[in-house]
Amino acid sequence: MWALRFSRYIRGAPLGGGSHWAGLSLGSRFTQAASGRSDSRQEAAGDPRQRGLVRPRSYRGGVYQNPTWQHVEQRPLPQKKVTVEVLDHLERLALVDFRDWEGVQRLEKAIQFADQLHAVNTEGVEPMDSVLEDRCLYLREDNITEGTCTEELLRNARETVEEYFIAPPGNIPLPKLEGRDTFLQVSE
């Protein structure tokens, strides 16, 4: 009887209503489940609130088998056009070559994709500095452990002179928009 009830849920039928499920409330029940499996089963059997609701057998050992997030309506975000000045600035700074308008469109789509983040309400939430959240920064002792591998390093370079790497003289800045042969100019 027990097993039958559970097997119906395992088949992965849509749980809850529609394509939404309250991710948060499930989450809290999940944590309870994690702490005491047997407890929650007994509790679930007796508690009338939980009859008919999902028993997350899909949560096994800390990994969710089914997604628990909410779908957000794709509100049409303002289509931002990237100006020629910005494109020139980017080409100069990052030394990328957009090559043609297709490249610029790809950039605009990427910006639009990232702009979805604005849909999230981040009021009162501290910005995350690093995915290594609570881990401490490891401090190394001040000992000399590496370094004398000159030959190996120089093998990477095409040209070397007496154990120095060779580079062109100074920075050669990208010529201004007027002086360059680029598709950005044509558009104007």
Binding site: H89, L95, D129, E141, N143, T145, P173
Partner: protein, 554 residues
């Protein structure tokens, strides 16, 4: 007549402005000369469009801010385990991380963190218990990764102050103390070294220096002249050397200073600033800043505007020239360093109980172990030995001179106030002439103490002592006593011999004796001089004067 009135008016005006702001006011030398021309107040061509201040000439005020990079004195680099050494075969102290090979990650050096915290505490900063690392992107051949790991958002230490003293006044004999605020102290990586080979149109890159830990000390623009900047840098250098966090030798590039200079009229908004780089010593720093201030004043008075650019100081020509590589405002695209979590520092209150103490940097522990800072040492010297503050400055300025002075005082009975005279006037003078450091001096503290003891006992005169000192300087290993005996420099102790010599001199110069008896006392000095010459400096001048006077009054 008109000129003198003008001068008085101008003088009082300057004094007023100086009193209210305590800021050195600069005015174009040319304009001053024009104002002195008789009969005219605001005559002649006033260059450009400088606004008409009172009396027709508007003074300029310079604003100088410094960014100082001090190389941390540690065995290994900031984020990798390669050695830190000044002169080494090219590219021999480079690890895979320093060369930015893919797949390498930074590992922070604990000693560098401690050095930064020590410096922050010495400069009265607030130490941030949580600080973050960022990436600063720019392309240059000596920066293999294309970015530098620095701390821009939240550095290790903020809001400190540095007090320095400088000599002001016409004769440069008055010491005033000024303070400059420290905006922040942050840890960052050094870039490699590039040697420009113009003949073959290429640059040779040596990455030995890439990745070495630097402390960047950012100062607020509180200074207004090259002299103040040089004094502040000198004081910071002494502090860093005392703490041991950096050896701060400018010649070896361990202390690099960039100056941001702008000029404006008092009361108006700040002018456009330029950045001056490539300054190799404190002396050049003062010159570079002063040159830049004058250049900007000239530009503005000629009606042109100052461009926001980076200029390099050419020490041979003594001027600043624009740097071609750094035109326009740089956009560094700062971004949090994803490979490094926040750096957490602890103090005694916040230290968790069971943490591996190798992973802990305890601010209170470091604060307890801070050595005496130069300012504290100076106060102690003045209190202990009764010397003037200016002397304590000179003592601390020279490496090892303070210990030398203390050793001499310990071994001699002479008053420290007199000893300091010997140290600063004679000892230091000889050291400078022969370009030696105190450690290389042929005259040890023991020898000098012996000499001063002889002088104090009255065995030799001060001029004889100077002769002995010169002899000692030759470094032949003789003691002062030996030299005195060899050269027969002892003061004549025998009273009778003295009297005989004086008598002889008086008899030989009857004219002078007559003059003195008539009342011309100045001739007495001539007689004393003659006695000295006869005895070859072995006569105590005071005694000679006494005897002569006694004789003459007879």
């Amino acid at each position: 007549m008109a000129a003198s009135i003008l001068r008085r008016c101008w003088g009082s005006l300057l004094a007023q402005r100086c009193r209210t702001g305590d800021v050195p006011v600069l005015h174009n030398g040319q304009t001053w000369r024009r104002a002195q021309a008789p009969g005219s107040i605001a005559s002649g061509r006033r260059a450009g469009n400088s606004p008409a201040g009172e009396r027709g000439v508007a003074p300029w005020v310079a604003v100088v801010g410094l960014e100082i990079h001090a190389q941390i004195s540690s065995n290994s680099k900031l984020f990798s385990g390669s050695q830190v050494q000044f002169a080494a075969p090219p590219n021999s102290l480079v690890s895979f991380f320093d060369a930015s090979l893919p797949g390498t990650l930074p590992a922070l050096n604990r000693r560098c963190v401690e050095a930064a915290v020590m410096t922050g505490l010495a400069l009265n900063c607030r130490i941030n218990k949580k600080s973050l690392f960022d990436r600063k992107h720019y392309f240059y051949a000596d920066l293999p990764a294309g970015y530098q790991i620095t701390q821009q958002r939240l550095p290790v230490a903020v809001n400190g102050s540095l007090s320095y003293s400088l000599c002001v006044g016409g004769k440069k004999n008055q010491m005033v103390t000024r303070t400059v605020r420290i905006k922040q102290i942050q840890l960052e990586q050094d870039s490699g070294k590039s040697l420009h080979d113009d003949t073959r149109s290429q640059t040779l890159i040596d990455l030995n220096r890439a990745g070495v830990g630097l402390m960047e000390v950012v100062m607020e623009p509180d200074m207004s002249s090259g002299e103040e900047a040089a004094a502040a840098v000198r004081e910071l250098q002494l502090i860093l050397q005392t703490l041991g966090s950096s050896q701060a030798i400018m010649a070896e590039g361990q202390l690099r200073v960039d100056a941001n200079v702008s000029v404006h009229h008092p009361g108006e908004a700040y002018g456009v600033r330029t950045e001056v780089k490539n300054i190799n010593s404190a002396r050049f720093l003062a010159r570079a800043i002063d040159y830049e201030i004058q250049r900007q004043i000239k530009e503005l008075e000629n009606g042109q505007t100052v461009m926001n650019e980076t200029r390099a100081f050419d020490y041979k020509l003594g001027c600043t020239i624009p740097m071609r590589d750094k035109e326009g405002k740089q956009d560094y695209r700062f971004m949090p360093e994803p490979n490094l979590p926040p750096l957490i520092l602890y103090d005694s209150k916040s230290l968790p109980a069971n943490m591996n103490h190798q992973q802990v940097v305890n601010i209170d522990w470091i604060r307890e172990r801070l050595p005496d800072l130069p300012s504290v040492k100076r106060v102690k010297l003045v209190e202990q030995y009764g010397i003037l503050p200016e002397h304590s400055f000179t003592l601390l300025n020279e490496d090892g001179l303070m210990e030398f002075f203390q050793n001499v005082v310990r071994q001699t009975q002479m008053n420290p106030k007199k000893v300091i005279g010997w140290i600063l006037n004679d000892m230091l003078c000889y050291l400078k002439q022969h370009n030696l450091t105190v450690k290389e001096s042929p005259v040890s503290s023991l020898l000098l103490a012996d000499l001063l003891n002889l002088l104090e006992r009255g065995a030799i005169s001060s001029s004889a002592a100077k002769q002995v000192f010169e002899e000692l300087w030759k470094g032949e290993g003789k003691t002062p006593l030996q030299i005195v005996k060899e050269k027969k420099l002892e003061l004549i102790q025998d009273q009778q011999e003295f009297e005989q010599i004086c008598q002889a001199v008086m008899e030989g110069h009857q004219e002078e004796v007559m003059e003195i008896k008539k009342g011309n006392r100045k001739v007495l000095n001539k007689l004393i001089g003659l006695v000295q010459r006869t005895t070859r400096g072995r006569a105590d001048p005071v005694l000679v004067k006494q005897i002569l006077e006694k004789r003459l009054s007879q």
